[in-house]
């Protein structure tokens, strides 16, 4: 038993190292792709010069460091944040069908961000508004689903509550779009609403990573205890878990991650729902293994999809369209499977 424990820990370590290596490789390949094609060697030289601080100012270096690096890093950050928060929501709400977008968190964070843009507030305030509105959305959705009594399928009630609140938040966004100043605010809002990584700047990235880190650190620290949240509420409490307190911490952490990436990228759908399932399919539901797998796959997936989105056609394909084409069939597969294995 101890042997198998040690082996599985080693296996997890090897798996994670392999995943990181694969992502680095993907990152370097993605950095070669674009309007100004580069070789892997040029990309590695540019990255090396960044690390050593000896920048030469060559064209390749400028393209890699100033244009591609922020975007690729943003794809990794957005992918891992959405996937990790999706895995957390699914475990905390004991519901395989929820995700940041389905719980209305993305739409809520979107309304918060649009409100802040409408009020012409600076970037940190856009993030703060996104967080507060996102948190409000998930709280309302949770308590709304609790109010619907006597239903035999709480999983669907939570999903439907999320859809309702998401629609209300969406209507709020429409009102603000309608009222916005067409010369100054409207372009900013519209651009942001498209859910694209195209407009992400280095400053956006620097504003987004600290809250994502602040959200993911508690998840890593609590990674084993989170498993107990997947049990029946009373069972978890009988095992000594203060479920109420733990749920608040986890929901705040997941919402912080979601809202801070929504504030820079707009609402990127599907990732938070699909990636945790793919990860669970590969490593099982145990959160100490699920979280690293989710983070790696989420980051790698969005990097890959964004690279396809910006390079496969003459003009950029919005990432939302590609995500929907990949996500919708996968979601149907999960739905069919969920009936068998979770009920």
């Amino acid at each position: 038993m101890t042997l198998s424990g040690g082996v599985s820990a080693m296996r997890t370590g090897a798996w994670a190292a392999g995943g990181l290596g694969a992502i680095f490789l993907l990152f370097c390949i993605a950095a070669t792709v674009g309007q100004y094609p580069l070789s892997i060697a040029e990309v590695l030289t540019a990255l090396g010069s960044l690390l050593s601080g000896a920048e030469t100012g060559s064209a390749a270096e400028t393209v890699v460091l100033n244009i591609r690096l922020p975007r690729l890093a943003a794809a990794l950050l957005v992918g891992l944040a959405l996937a990790a928060s999706g895995a957390t929501y699914q475990t905390v709400f004991r519901n395989p069908l929820v995700a940041p977008d389905i719980l209305g968190v993305s739409a809520g964070a979107g309304l918060g961000a649009v409100t802040a843009i409408f009020l012409s507030l600076p970037v940190p305030m856009i993030q703060a508004f996104a967080f507060v509105f996102g948190l409000l959305a998930v709280i309302v959705v949770y308590f709304m689903s609790k109010l619907v009594r006597g239903v035999h399928d709480p999983i669907l009630v939570l999903v439907l509550s999320g859809v309702v609140i998401g629609a209300v938040m969406g209507a709020g966004i429409s009102v603000l779009t309608y009222l916005a100043d067409p010369y100054d605010q409207l372009p900013a809002i519209t651009f942001w609403l498209m859910g694209s990584l195209a407009g992400i700047t280095f400053d956006d990235l620097m504003a987004a990573w600290p809250p994502v880190l602040a959200g993911i650190v508690p998840l890593f620290l609590l990674r084993w205890r989170i498993n107990l949240m997947a049990l029946d509420e009373e069972e978890a409490r009988a095992l000594g878990v203060e479920t109420g307190r733990l749920r608040v911490v986890l929901v705040v952490a997941a919402t912080l991650m979601t809202s801070s990436v929504v504030a820079i990228s707009g609402t990127v759908g599907w990732v938070g729902l699909i990636i945790p399932h793919v990860a669970r399919f590969l490593v099982g539901p145990e959160f100490s293994r699920l979280l690293p797998a989710t983070v790696l796959i989420g980051a790698g997936y969005l990097l890959l999809v964004d690279t396809i989105a910006r390079s496969s056609a003459g003009i950029e394909i919005p990432i939302g369209i590609l995500n929907a084409f990949i996500g919708a069939p996968l979601f149907l597969w999960i739905l069919a499977r969920a009936r068998r294995s979770w009920r």
Binding site: T91, L221, W224, E234, A238, L239, V241, R280
Partner: protein, 260 residues
Amino acid sequence: MALTLSARGLGFGYPGHRVGHALDLDIGAHQVTMLLGPNGCGKTTLFRTLLGLLPAQAGAVTLDGMPLSSLSRQEIARRLAYVPQVAEGYFPFSVLDVVLMGRAPFLGTFEAPGRKDRELAGAALGQLGLDELADRSFSAISGGQRQLALIARALVQAAPVLIMDEPTANLDYGNQHRILKRARALASDGRTVVISSHNPDHALAYADQVVLIKSGTVIAAGPAEETMTAERLSGMYDMPVAVLEVEDGLGGRSRRCVPL
């Protein structure tokens, strides 16, 4: 009779809905105590109150002489283990992962189970004959095996008192008796076992003490054979019941309930 868990003048129920009142209960240490009562008599609500999951509305529950309300969830979990009815709604955790969750009351907030915890879980699985199933998905094994795995989890929780909510519900005849024999063996090993049941024959066969409950209050409590009379059972279930003495064909005698 050494006491571990008792209730005095206990009123219990949900906010705005009192289920039981003025209930006195004493659970003897190292014994199997079975709670019997008709549907809706308040057994499940009583269990939730005894576990501290629902606050007492009146009176108090005491555990080892301490009021339950003065203990934290973790302190309660180190003394009382709960074996719920088998649910299917888990994510597909492995049996070993489910059993390891029983170590939660002994691990710090940020701690994961270590080598010693894995050894305990392995030993508990072995004790219940589940070694082969350790890596199988909890949702893929049979109902009886799941119930055994939940008992293994209660064993690694190392609590002196086990509270089992209808452990024989949804199990076939053989599994029902295997589970109850296991409960008896745990009591012989020095644990205190409290079981709720809908089968008076199970109480006659396996319980040291029985508690008969109707409408949220205790109508009788004591040693199984003396307490379970035909009149009491008839009154409790609102139907005529006879308690017969039968020979088991091996020279022993035991009692059985028969509906009339």
